[in-house]
Every structure is written in structure tokens, then in C-alpha cells.
């Protein structure tokens, strides 16, 4: 059982990775990007395409894909989200949902229905493991994923609190108009925040491809996982996302123990239970619970 718990905790690292971009964008721009999962799958396909066509290792491929994702994030904010956010809080939901449909079906058109994986292109890393005391085997990839999540969350935290740019992003998220008065360019801050969020999405997509298989329509479940992890853990800091990811993964692991089809059910159920308890205990809107980056 302790073996499963450890695997669950490590899987939580992946959920934290995919969730942090979603909650980062939400906390800065108040937009939930419904194309979040589809963009992660896009990143996985980009890496797969580089690897299968040009024999570029996915780790090297990230040097190309991550800047591309940053550019996509910047463009997304400038040309789509900025415009639709002016039409109220509901329009960005519709815009990003439409975008998700476009991305999913273009991927299907381009790459077909076959499931793909990056595992064949990363050598033995996909199955190598360390043996820990008590004959517990932990995959090297899973540990790497978890470590990446910690480094990424910690890095974001430091960036937001200790750099000028990070502070201007936080100021924009608090109150764009007042931030503008003191000389912060809100448009620029939002575009940069979107670019950063998409880099984390690109990384999450890479790990999705390495640890499992994906297909053109894999974006929707990734979006749900990201949302669930962000909500479960989003109690006020980026680290909450990590805890949320771990709780989600443990619930899924437990669910799989109970019933063969219980993996996803366990995850969704724990999400709803946490939500229910939170909403009835606090009386706060979920908006307040999801806020991040306000740690100082």
C-alpha cells in the first residue's frame, strides 16, 4: 500500500505541473482558459513530431517547443483573450472553448486518431526506477516530474515576489487600473503572464507525453485534472497547487484500488467533496479560494 501512496504522491507532481499554468492565468487575468488541456496536448504533439520526424530528443525539443509555447501564450492574450475579456466575464469562456475545439480537431486532422507517446524517444528513462528500502520501486521519470514541479512552483513564487516584472504582474492582477496609474503596463504584464503560463503548459505536455499516451482529444481530461488540482489545493499559494495535485492523485490511486474503473471516479469525487466542504464552511466564493500569488 505504501508503494501506491508514493506513486500517487509522485503523480501529484504532474497534476501540479498542469494546474499551475491554469491557476496562474486565472489569478492574473481572471480567465479560465478552456483550451488549457488542448494546448498541453499540442505541445506533446509538437515534441512527438520533432522526435519522430527529425530524431530530436524530447528534452532537446523543449528548447524549440517552450519558446513556441511562450509566443503562443503572448499571441493568445493579445489577439484573443484581451478582446473577449472586454465583453464581460462570460465571453472568454466561449472563446477559449471554441479554440479548444479548433485545436483538438486540427490535431486529429493532422495526426489521426492513433494514440502516441514520447516514451520510445527518451530511452530507458520511461521505465528505469530506483529501489528504495522496503522494496519500493520509484520510476526515475516520476521523480523527475515531481522535482520539476517543485522547481517550477518555487521559481514562479520567487519570480512573483522578488522581481520587478513579477511584482508588476501581481499589481496588475490586484487592480489593473491602479497599477496603470503607478506606471505598470497592464497589457504587457498580462501578455507576459500568459506567455509564462503557456511555458508551464508546454512542460506539462512534455511530461504527459513521456509518462503516458495521448491522442488528439486528450485535452479535455487534462483540463479537468488541472482545474481539480487547482481548486483542491488553491488555498492561497502556489504550493497549494502541489498539495491539490497530490490529493487528486491519491484519490485516483485509492479509487483504482476499490474498483477497476474507480481511478477517474475517485478523482472527481474528492474534488466535489473538497468543493462542497469549502463552499459550505467558508461562505466565500470560489474566486477567493482560487487566488494565488498573494503570499507576501
Amino acid at each position: 500500500m505504501s508503494n501506491q501512496i508514493i506513486q500517487g504522491i509522485l503523480l501529484g507532481g504532474y497534476y501540479a505541473l498542469i494546474a499551475c499554468g491554469l491557476s496562474f492565468m486565472f489569478s492574473v487575468m481572471r480567465i479560465i482558459n478552456l483550451a488549457h488541456g488542448s494546448l498541453a496536448v499540442f505541445s506533446a504533439y509538437a515534441l512527438w513530431w520533432l522526435a519522430s520526424r527529425y530524431h530530436v530528443s524530447p528534452f532537446v525539443g523543449l528548447l524549440i517547443v517552450l519558446p513556441l509555447m511562450a509566443a503562443i501564450g503572448w499571441a493568445l492574450q493579445r489577439f484573443l483573450l484581451e478582446r473577449s475579456a472586454r465583453g464581460g466575464a462570460l465571453l472568454p469562456i466561449l472563446t477559449t472553448f471554441g479554440l479548444a475545439i479548433v485545436i483538438d480537431n486540427l490535431l486529429f486532422e493532422q495526426f489521426g486518431a492513433d494514440t502516441r507517446s514520447l516514451a520510445p524517444y527518451i530511452g530507458s528513462l520511461s521505465y528505469d526506477s530506483w529501489e528504495w528500502p522496503g522494496s519500493i520501486y520509484v520510476g526515475k521519470l516520476a521523480v523527475m516530474m515531481f522535482a520539476t514541479a517543485i522547481v517550477l512552483l518555487g521559481g514562479l513564487q520567487l519570480f512573483l515576489t522578488h522581481t520587478r516584472l513579477g511584482r508588476s504582474i501581481r499589481a496588475t492582477s490586484e487592480d489593473p487600473d491602479t497599477a496603470g496609474l503607478v506606471g505598470v503596463d497592464a497589457r504587457r504584464a498580462n501578455a507576459i503572464a500568459a506567455a509564462i503560463a503557456m511555458v508551464t503548459v508546454g512542460l506539462a505536455g512534455a511530461f504527459l507525453g513521456m509518462r503516458a499516451t495521448f491522442d488528439p482529444y486528450a485535452g479535455a481530461p487534462q483540463l479537468l485534472f488541472a482545474f481539480e488540482a487547482a481548486v483542491i489545493g488553491g488555498a492561497g499559494s502556489l504550493w497549494g497547487t502541489l498539495i491539490g495535485g497530490i490529493v487528486l492523485a491519491l484519490a485516483q490511486t485509492l479509487g483504482a484500488q476499490v474498483h477497476p474503473q474507480g481511478f477517474l471516479i475517485g478523482g472527481h469525487a474528492v474534488f466535489l467533496v473538497v468543493l462542497f466542504v469549502r463552499l459550505s464552511a467558508s461562505g466565500l466564493g470560489l474566486r477567493d479560494l482560487l487566488r494565488l500569488g498573494k503570499t507576501s
Binding site: L90, L94, T95, V102, L224, H259, Q261, R287
Partner: protein, 352 residues
């Protein structure tokens, strides 16, 4: 006379809208006798159109009037079909089961609304999606459904194909008419003013004493009931029930497309959107993936550049109102000698 001339006149309809009302009655009457003249294939297509109108109108009721954008409405579509299967399996007449199923879905949505309506905007949108995903998984566990293999509404097979087709057509037409009438009555009645106040500004509506949550719950339950009926009707036309097709997010994508294109928050817009969608599907549905890419792209373009949709734009441009659910204030309308000044025409801009 002079005081009368400056008195604002409050209109609830126009000459056009009275003609439109008669036209609607005529169209419904024509549609009711249409199966006599249409081929079997056309009857099936028309049934699909009625179901699309229901879906669009119900999603519009929720999003356009209640300000609740959900990407999980497929949960009610799937449950509508599932409960119909369950009720028919328990021995209920299959046609009766379709309506009973809609009622059950409506009842199920009441406790769900207590919980979900506390979420706002994006959280509500994805929260509903999680509900849909979870419900799909739970329905899969039912022995009767046999997981993704699915099952069928076998008891419909006792009717011969012709009777079945015509009956489902009439049921779909009747459901569509009834649901649209309920929605129209709701929007035109006293609840309608509350609904539009919430749509325009929720906090301001609450501050003047509008029961925001109660009104939203009403729309949520109505939408669940209507979409449940639509799911049950779809099951009746296709007979087979595979959870994956019914709990597919594609259904919500269709609803969003229809309402965005037709005109979110306008009663006529949803119907127009369903018609547009129906025609696009008829012409381009065969192109598969590109058709879906086109639907998504159109939704993005409309949300960015024409957020009021086709009908909203027409209404704004020409002051046209066919099925008016709102009030319209006209100044000095009683005095025929007064030529309308530009200022007076701006008074027409009240939104329905």
C-alpha cells in the same frame, strides 16, 4: 392632448410582432401535418432540427438570460437518454418514458443546483463539465448499460417503423413548442424582468430586491428538464444508447455554437442559430473533422467580433422584434404629427 403626447407609451408588442405571432401559429400547424407529405428521411431530419432548437433555447435560457455558461450540459442530455432506458426497462411505455425521463432529470437537477449555483463564471462552467464526466463514469457502471458497449431502447421495436417515426416527430414538435412557450411565458411574465435584470447586472439586480438565486435555479432546472427531454428524444430516434455519444461534450459545443451565432440573450436568436446549425450540418456535416474545426472557429469569431450574434445585430440595426419578451418605451408615440427625432429612436434600444 399635449400632456398625452409627451407621455411615454409602453409597448409589449409591435404590428410586426403580431404578424409574427400569427406566422408562428401557422408554421406550427404546417409542421404538424408535414409528415403526410415528407419522405421518411426528411421527417427524421426535421425531428433532429426540433431537438436542436430545444437544445439551443435551453442553453440560451441558462447562459443568455441567467448568465450561467455551462460546458457540462451534456450531463442532462445523457441522463435524459439513460433514465428513458431505465424507465422503459422497468416496464413503462417507451413514449411515456421519454417524458417521465425529462421530469426525473429536472428533479435530479434541483439538488445539483443548490451546490453548483454557488460557483461563478468559469468555475461553474468547468464544474459542470466535471459533473458530466463523473455522471458518465457512474452510468457506465450500470449493468444494464454494459459500460461503453451500451444498450438500446428495445421496447420501441413493437411499433412499426412508420408509426414510430411519425410519433417521435410529433413528440419532438410538441416538446419544442411547449418548451419554447414555457420560456416565452417566463420571460414575458414578472420573472422575465428579474431574469433580464440578472443578465444585465447581477449585483445591481440583487440590490433592488431581485431573488437572484431563486431565479437562476428556475432557469437551471428548466434547462435541465428541456435538455433531458431532448436527450430522450434523440435516444428515441437513434434507438441505441452508448454513453460515450450522449455524454459527449460535443453536444454542449453545438449548443454554444447555435446560441453564439444566433444571438445570445435573445429569444429568437437561439431558434435562428439552431436553423443555421441545421443547414450547416446538412451541407458540411459530411466533411468530418473540417466541419468541427469550422464550428469551433466560427464560435471564436462570433465571440470576438459579433458577440450579439446574427439576431442581436439585426435587432439592433432595424429595431425589429418578432417575439417580444420585453417592454419597449416610446416617447410621444401618441402624437402622429411629431416626426421621430434621432433622440427618440435611441429610446428603442431597450433590450429584450
Amino acid at each position: 392632448m399635449s400632456t398625452l403626447a409627451t407621455m411615454p407609451v409602453i409597448e409589449r408588442g409591435t404590428a410586426t410582432s403580431r404578424i409574427a405571432a400569427m406566422a408562428v401559429a401557422l408554421i406550427i400547424a404546417l409542421l404538424a401535418i408535414a409528415p403526410q407529405f415528407l419522405s421518411a428521411g426528411s421527417v427524421d431530419r426535421m425531428t433532429a432540427l426540433f431537438i436542436y432548437v430545444i437544445l439551443a433555447a435551453m442553453w440560451n435560457a441558462l447562459a443568455g438570460f441567467g448568465g450561467l455558461v455551462s460546458v457540462g450540459q451534456q450531463v442532462f442530455f445523457g441522463l435524459g437518454a439513460y433514465f428513458a432506458i431505465r424507465l422503459a426497462d422497468a416496464g413503462l411505455n417507451p413514449f411515456l418514458a421519454l417524458f417521465a425521463s425529462g421530469l426525473v432529470v429536472g428533479v435530479v437537477s434541483i439538488p445539483l443546483s443548490l451546490f453548483m449555483l454557488r460557483l461563478r463564471n468559469g468555475e461553474f462552467a468547468i464544474g459542470m463539465w466535471v459533473i458530466a464526466a463523473l455522471t458518465h463514469l457512474l452510468v457506465n457502471l450500470d449493468r444494464l448499460v454494459q459500460g461503453e458497449t451500451g444498450t438500446s431502447l428495445i421496447s420501441l421495436n413493437v411499433y412499426d417503423a412508420g408509426t414510430r417515426r411519425a410519433t417521435i416527430y410529433w413528440l419532438a414538435l410538441a416538446s419544442m413548442t411547449a418548451l419554447l412557450a414555457i420560456l416565452f411565458g417566463l420571460l414575458r411574465g414578472s420573472t422575465g424582468a428579474a431574469i433580464r435584470a440578472i443578465r444585465d447586472n447581477e449585483d445591481a439586480a440583487a440590490s433592488v430586491g431581485v431573488r437572484v438565486t431563486g431565479t437562476k435555479r428556475l432557469l437551471f432546472v428548466l434547462a435541465a428538464f428541456g435538455i433531458g427531454i431532448a436527450g430522450a428524444l434523440w435516444l428515441a430516434t437513434s434507438i441505441t444508447f452508448q454513453p460515450k455519444t450522449y455524454f459527449n461534450v460535443q453536444w454542449t459545443a453545438y449548443m454554444i455554437f447555435m446560441v453564439l451565432v444566433g444571438g445570445i440573450g435573445t429569444f429568437e436568436g437561439a431558434i435562428l442559430g439552431a436553423l443555421v446549425f441545421f443547414l450547416i450540418e446538412t451541407w458540411f456535416g459530411g466533411t468530418g473533422v473540417w466541419y468541427l474545426v469550422g464550428l469551433g472557429a466560427t464560435a471564436v469569431v462570433f465571440s470576438l467580433f459579433l458577440p450579439r450574434g446574427l439576431w442581436g445585430t439585426i435587432e439592433e440595426r432595424f429595431g425589429l422584434r418578432l417575439l417580444p419578451v420585453g417592454y419597449r418605451v416610446r416617447l410621444a408615440a401618441a402624437d402622429d404629427d411629431v416626426t421621430p427625432s434621432p433622440q427618440q429612436t435611441t429610446m428603442h434600444q431597450e433590450k429584450a
